[in-house]
């Protein structure tokens, strides 16, 4: 079976590719790049990508799929359906499931559930410590053998520097990146939003930026000492970004990611006490947002990851103090990246693809992904930069609807998602700015609107 993605603009930063090419897919792999005048197989299915961007499949390094254990919030199948609708061909779920993904059996189970769903690839992240209790190291080697791509205790960051140091020494031997949610809870405990003028104004307990700064600096010092690869999750403060910038200049093996909500919103969004503005790290103040944008522009920030954190409406319908942290993000990330980064001229499309595909694949060493060079896996994200659309929580494929971006209008969207050569998602709306005639591909699988 051959699929030809014709007339698209192919962007593949790993290959310095940024021009019109036809992409031929065969048996789940990229078979060839063909110039406009090169002949194409007569019997291939054709997807006309005129006016569209064809990119290596986007990889979300940071999601919560809630399975096993909290299937009322999300399942691997529903999370993957949301992922492919948002343009993500691969997602990397954090281990804070119930039970915690701290052993190979859970890791394997997650991968099997993803295979059953048949939508996005799932590359689990294992726990650093057993039960993420911060005490004993989890079986990282076994989890890696089962398919884990990194280790993290995400929302329960290892508080003890001695154990974190040992975890890095151990993870290094297995070539596993250590991901840290940087938060010194002795400084942030009880807090529900960014500490600053707005938290004082609203009478909500603040989480100071320095709780993140201190932990990020600690991790960087430990990474320098151990030689391990530290990846700072959802970086949100000026101090942490500056620490990463300095560490990179020093040659320390550090990378970091940012979420779309942190490059879009500030703590002002909390006025009104909408619990869909509550997440950790919290929405920061304007100066931090500006530091994030500068970090995206100058390359300090390597990756855009959603921290997709579904919660049931009943849980979010509580007092602001008591509602759980986290918002969904898989289906709004590309729209937000276009609105806030691309259309504002901060980054170009090549850099967007780097942030969403090339770099995540490089950091997690996902062989054959993050590039469309012939021979690689045919995971493809197809984007219409001009499509005007409105996100609705009620339309979300996630089981949870806890997004603060309900009814927000975007210009730019993923319009088709191909995983392993199969088209698993295709958007119905057409660009209202450019009218592209498109043929309907025959190979449609999974959830399609």
């Amino acid at each position: 079976m051959q699929l030809l993605i014709s007339n698209g603009h192919l962007i593949d930063p790993a290959e310095n590719q940024n021009s019109g090419k036809n992409l031929l897919i065969e048996d789940g792999k990229v078979a060839a790049w063909l110039g406009p005048n090169e002949s194409v197989p007569d019997d291939a299915e054709v997807f006309d990508a005129s006016g569209l961007i064809v990119a290596p499949g986007f990889i979300d390094m940071h999601v919560h799929l809630r399975e096993p254990g909290q299937e009322h919030k999300e399942t691997i199948a529903s999370g993957c359906a949301a992922a492919v609708a948002g343009g993500w061909t691969s997602v990397c779920p954090m281990p804070n499931t119930n039970p915690i993904n701290d052993n190979a059996a859970i890791t394997r189970y997650m991968i099997e559930q993803a295979e059953r769903a048949g939508l996005a690839n799932v590359f689990p992240i294992g726990a650093i410590t057993k039960s993420s209790d911060g005490a004993e190291l989890a079986e990282m080697g076994e989890m890696k053998a089962a398919g884990a791509v990194a280790v993290s205790d995400d929302g329960r960051p290892v508080p003890n520097a001695g154990i974190m140091r040992r975890a890095m020494q151990y993870a290094r031997d297995f070539d596993l990146p250590v991901i840290d949610h940087c938060e010194d809870k002795s400084l942030s405990s009880g807090g529900v939003m960014h500490e600053g003028r707005i938290s004082l104004l609203l009478g909500l307990k603040g989480m100071p930026a320095l709780a993140e700064d201190i932990d990020a600096v600690r991790d960087i010092i430990l990474a320098k000492d151990t030689g391990a690869h530290i990846h700072i999750a959802h970086v949100s403060t000026m101090g942490a970004i500056e620490a990463v910038r300095r560490a990179k200049n020093e040659g320390i093996n550090v990378t970091c990611e940012v979420t779309p909500h942190h490059f879009t919103l500030t703590d002002k969004a909390v006025e009104g006490y909408d619990t869909n503005t509550k997440m950790a790290p919290p929405l920061r103040s304007q100066e931090h947002l500006e530091a994030i944008l500068a970090g995206i522009k100058d390359g300090t920030i390597d990756v855009i990851a959603t921290d997709h954190a579904p919660h049931h409406a009943d849980e979010k319908s509580l007092e602001y103090d008591r509602a759980p942290f986290g918002i969904t993000g898989l289906e709004t990330a590309v729209g937000l990246a276009f609105n806030e980064l691309v259309h504002k001229g901060l980054i170009d499309l090549v850099r967007l693809v780097e942030l969403c595909s090339t770099n995540p694949a490089r950091i997690f060493k996902l062989t054959g992904r993050g590039s469309l060079t012939p021979g690689s896996v045919a995971d493809v994200t197809i984007i219409d930069p001009d499509l005007v659309w409105t996100y609705k929580n009620s339309d979300s494929r996630s089981k949870s609807k806890n997004s603060p971006f309900d009814s927000r209008q975007f210009t730019g969207a993923s319009v088709a998602t191909i995983v392993g050569g199969r088209m698993v998602y295709r958007r119905q709306e057409k660009s209202i700015l450019v009218d592209h005639p498109r043929t309907t591909p025959a190979t449609i699988a999974g959830v399609v609107i």
Binding site: R197, L201, L202, E319, Y320
Partner: protein, 332 residues
């Protein structure tokens, strides 16, 4: 047939509240009000205050209206004050005390609110230990929501009764210097007062231990607020000294070493009060910890207006309930 609603000129106040961009006339905080709206409420309250001095302390202004006092947090004075205010205006008042652990029984905050709302009250007066609960209820409730204190956010009727007390003794708020001393960080009384007093043209100085008076407080409002390191600097030359209650339970969080040390360094004694203007008045939202944040000789002196505050509290809440429930139509 005519009746005396107790209102001499209700229009000035109600017009302003009606101009608020809300479906209902919620009172969620002072932060949302303009100076004109604040004056309108205070004028209405002044007109109502006379009712409580009558032999028969009741007017039919809110006859047929229902007020629910929904208290998720223990309170004696504020709840009694709201209840009396409703009853003196002939509203039917129902008091509900909800354990904040009701969520553990499976009911969310919004379930509770919507169940009450289904019984068609005209106004829900809500107190809760979490900031923002009145705002969350206002989004789903058809009844007017009046904030009776939400976490560390606001306590608007307390600030209004403080303002009424100040107005009665100082004639006007504009131009006054007001010191607020104590646990500013956790105080909804301080926040509401800072908003109200600065909107009305007063200069406010806050002071207390550095752990309870964050530097960022300087930026809370655009004008008229100063953060002082020393209590003496705040009190010096003040027309009004407002003392906040020290919540003993905060001791566990170690914001200061001991009550003894607090009383020595931050308590309002006669010596510290002597730094204020000779005619300075002292306010305290109660209940007082005598000998800790305020010395008994200050609390019991003629400069202390703590019982006046309680008295005006009823009048202010009558005005707020009246305006919130659309009582403006009584005379109209």
């Amino acid at each position: 047939m005519t009746f005396d609603s107790g209102i001499r000129n209700p229009q000035s106040a109600t017009r302003n509240l009606l101009e608020k961009p809300f479906r209902r006339r919620d009172l969620l905080g002072i932060r949302d009000l303009t100076a004109a709206e604040i004056i309108g409420i205070l004028d209405t309250a002044e007109n109502f205050s006379e009712i409580s001095t009558r032999e028969v302390k009741k007017v039919p202004a809110l006859r047929g209206k229902t007020v629910i006092n929904l208290f998720f947090e223990a309170s004696t004075r504020t709840r009694t004050s709201f209840e009396l205010a409703a009853k003196r205006l002939s509203a039917d008042a129902v008091n509900i005390s909800v354990s904040s652990s009701s969520v553990s029984k499976g009911e969310t905050l919004l379930d509770t609110a919507m169940n009450l709302d289904a019984m068609a009250p005209d106004c829900i007066v809500v107190r809760h230990s979490s900031a923002g609960v009145p705002h969350q209820l206002a989004k789903v409730s058809k009844a007017a929501i009046v904030n009776a204190g939400d976490g560390a956010n606001e306590h608007p009727t307390q600030a209004l009764l403080d303002a009424m007390t100040i107005r009665e003794h100082k004639k006007q708020i504009d131009g006054l210097e007001v010191a607020i001393v104590g646990d500013i960080l956790h105080s909804r009384v301080a926040r509401s007062n800072i908003h109200l007093l600065t909107k009305m043209g007063a200069k406010v100085r806050v002071a207390g231990p550095g752990t309870l008076v964050p530097e960022d407080f300087r930026h809370l409002v655009e004008n008229g607020l100063e953060v002082c390191t020393h209590v003496e600097d705040a009190i010096e030359g003040a027309d009004v000294v407002m003392i906040l209650r020290i919540q003993r339970e905060r001791q566990d969080a170690a914001y200061f070493p001991s009550l003894r040390e607090y009383s020595i360094h931050y308590g309002l004694t006669n010596e510290r009060l002597d730094l204020a203007r000779k005619d300075a008045i002292v306010l305290h939202p109660g209940p007082m910890n005598r000998g800790i944040e305020i010395a008994s000789e200050v609390a019991d002196s003629s400069r202390s207006l703590i019982l006046d505050q309680v008295k005006y509290g009823v009048a202010v809440r009558m005005a707020v309930l009246y305006l919130a429930t659309g009582g403006a139509t009584v005379n109209g």
